[in-house]
Each structure stands twice: as C-alpha cells, then as structure tokens.
Amino acid sequence: MEIIFNEVSYTYNIKTSLAQKAIDTVSCKIPRGNITGIIGPTGSGKTTLIELITALLNPHEGYIKLNKFKIENNKQISNINNLRSKLGLMFQFPEEQFFQPTVKKELEFGMKYFNYKLPEIDKRINQALKMVGLDESYLERNPFELSHGEKRKVALASILVFNPKVVILDEPTVGLDNRNKKRLVKLIRRLKLIYHKTIIIVSHDVDLLYVLADYIVALNKGKLVTSGSKYDVFSQEELLTNNNIDIPKVANFTNKVLKRQKIKLGNYCEINDLIKAIYRHV
C-alpha cells in the first residue's frame, strides 16, 4: 500500500493560545512494499506523522492518501475500521501494554474484540507466530516472563494477527541489546521480503535505518527536510547537519573521504563492506 502525503499540516490545540504546529505542509510518498525510515530530532513531528497515517489524527490542511482511502480535515472516513485493519502500529516499549496471563490470550484479545470466529483466530495466531519466528510452545507462556527479544516479538505478533498491509514501528529496537536488535532487523526484513509488507520505522537510530531501510523521510520542526533513497538522503550531509539530523557513521565516513580525499568509496551500509572498499583504495 503506497501512502501519499499532500501538503499536510497539523496543529495541536488549534485555535487556542497553546496552538503548536507539529506538521507543516509536508508532501512526500511512502512507497509500497519497502521499508521507509522516518528520522528527525526530538520534536520534529515523527510521531505526529504516524498518527496521521493511522487516522488517529486528521490533518488540518492537505490530505493523506492510502489506496482508496483519503484522510482529510472535516471529512469522516466511511468504514474507518476497514482502513485501520490494513495498518498495524507498534508503539515504543510495546510489551508495557501486555495485560493477559498467556501469549495466546494476548494475541487473541484484539480479534475477539472484533468478533472474529474461533477457527479464524487460531489460524491467524499460528500465522503471526510463524511470521515472527516463534513456535506454538510460546502460546501458554506468561508474556511477562519472556526475554526482552521474545516480548518484542509477541508484541509484533499481536499486530500481525490482523495481517496488516502496512506495519508501523515506533522505535522498535529501543531497550534491546545488539543481539536482540539484529534478530528484530532480520524479522523486519522477512516481513518485507516474504510477506510483502510496507514497513515504516520511526527511529533515532540512523545507523540501524541505514542498514535496514530503503527510503528515508527526514523531518525537522514539522517540516520535510528531504526524502528519497537512503543513499541520496544521507549523502546530503550539510542539509541534514543544519537540521540537527544525524548521519549514519558509515555514511559520515564515506562522505568525509569523498570530500577530503576525492575518493568515492561507494555506498556501503555495513562496516565490513566499508573495510573492503578502504583496502582497495589505500
């Protein structure tokens, strides 16, 4: 599912003395079937952007188009549940939302609320567990007793039971050690490659996004700074730095070598590939 932002603005507490414009005339495209990273300093509007995508907020100006759905000001979407069923949103520290005694009950809660039939519930639970790389032995386990990485997978599975076309992850790796981070990265890649999900990741970790994402949307103070392929975006060093946006360390290194030594090392995301490139040019 492609997502198009067209001149979108959103103001918190609009028409009051506390009014604060959080998104300011943003136009960009989030391509279907790819992983898009949304980056920007604190307060840049990243969380507001994803709340607009999920129609938790309606824009005050402009519109957001998701296939046949159009989210715009003062216009109620008919069958909003249909839209929301296509979107899965995982908040930061999602395991803090656990409240059931077993993984099975956590996963079935949402579907029971929407009156899914039992055979369908079981089928979807099995599919979701498979997607996140957990087996049936987890079903009767207490979610609070799982490891950090396992908890994060169960949280993701609780969204995947609805088989959303778009999966939105807000800071998915915060609190995870590197090993669990790598497992989650592998999982996210699988969701894209095998299950053809469109994935949106909000993260401060630009190094993670440089490895994982295909596209980047960069925000600062509610405005779009730039968007495009990750290589294009992260090569715009001055623009990003002037907008307090971090540059991945690998990109920073290759940018500096190009600037200072006039040597183009190439587009590499991982340090091992960078080493090979350096070896060739030294």
């Binding site: 604190t42 050690d177 590197n178 669990n180 340090i271 080493i275």
Partner: protein
Amino acid sequence: MPNIIKIKNLSFGYDDKQIFNKFNLEIEAGDWVSIIGPNSSGKSTLVRLLVGLACSNKAITVDTLMVNQEKIVEVRKRIGVIFDDLTNQFISDTVRDDIAFGLENLNYDIAEIHTRIMRIARELKIEHLLDADPQRLSGGEKQKVALAAILVMQPKIIILDEALAMLDTKEQREILNILKVLHEKRKLTVINITHNLEETLYGNRIIVLNKGKTVMEGKTLDVLKEERILTKLGLELPFMVDLSLKLNFYNLLDDIILDMDELITKLWPSK
C-alpha cells in the same frame, strides 16, 4: 582513590530466579564507570540494589555506609539516579518545583533551595525552562531537568540507567558533555548503565556483566579491544573502535583512533 562503592559476596534473586551469586564489585571515588552487558545480565537489578530498592543483605556499602533500612536515607542522599523513562519521574507542574522537591522534603531553607536551583539552572543552561511544565519538554530538556533535580542534592554518585536511550545523538552528546564537565569539576562518581557502547568512550572504565557475573573489567579501551568477547555477548563496538580494529587486522592501521578525520589522514597521509 578510595572505593566509594563496595559489593562483597552479593547474592540476590527474584522468586525462583537467581540474579547474583556471591558477586563482588568495587568502584573508586571519582571514576566514570560504564556497566555494559546483554539484556538480563543484572545491570538494572544492580542499580536497584545500590539505592536500596531491593534488599542486598549487607553486601553493599556506599561511601562507607552499609545499604540497609537503617542507613537508607543517608545512602540515598549520596546517590542520584536518572532512569530511561522520565514520564513518571516528574511530579510537579513546573520545572522549578520539580527540582526543589527533594530539598523541600529534607526541610532545606527556602533561600538555600532558591540559591541551589538558580546555580544548577545556570550550569545546565535551563534557566529559561524553570517555569515550564516538565511534561511538555523535549527528551533532552527532560533529561537536563532530571539531572538538575539530582545535582541540586549534591550527590557524590550519579547513576544513569539507560538514561540516554530515548534521546537523539545530539541530545546524548549534550548530556554526556555536561556530565563530563561536572564529573571533572565536582569529582563526581558516574556510573553509566547502557547498551550503547559509544557512550563508554566518555568513561575511564568498563565493567562487563553477563548473567550476574563480571566477565571483564578494566580501562575503557583495553576492554573495547576484546572484540571477540564483546561480540560473543552480543555487544556492538563503538564505530571508530570497530573500524580501527578491523583496519588493524588488515595491517592498514596499527592503533585505535577515535577521531574520524585523524583516521582518514592516517590512511591517506600524502593527500
């Protein structure tokens, strides 16, 4: 320098899960120690034990005081902790009131409270935030306010428990640089518990924990050179350390260089 924290034969667990078993640790006064390790290695439990949020059974002394029910108030005057999620740490309507809270509870004189608040606000450059609602601040601003609320109590030890995890890199650097200045100026002991090994470069020592045991400890760069051990524990080296070690392996470098420009000059000296 004498040890400001001493842990001897600490055994602790939750219900049926043993976290520490005859664990020992010493931290010198004035040190900046990074405690790292994979998830569930015992890092956060250690913080709870140090400040008496869990019972350590006389195994821990802080600044010569045993951490027990009798001495807990005195112990807590010496330690300030900043956690990762500050949402629940602020309780007042204004930054000023939140910073004042601890001192008010200890019945400090109003004039003294005001003097301390203004001094710390100037030091951390948050004077303009004193009348703001702490819940409406940015992540970095919240951390500065949390830091101010601790420093105003003039502790000897500051513990950061994954405190920078939610901040962007610029905010992280800002907080760490502020702490660096204070660490040197006030001879603070800093204990930084983190997954992000880039932060360890600010400290002089690293302790590596795994499953409640010390795997390794020593000077920062000495520990970071142990790539194999750290990688096996699932820890990610700081970028420049990782790059330097890999370039060392290919004989393109013979040292660890932490500055990117310096490393580029070393690789291409004639250009």
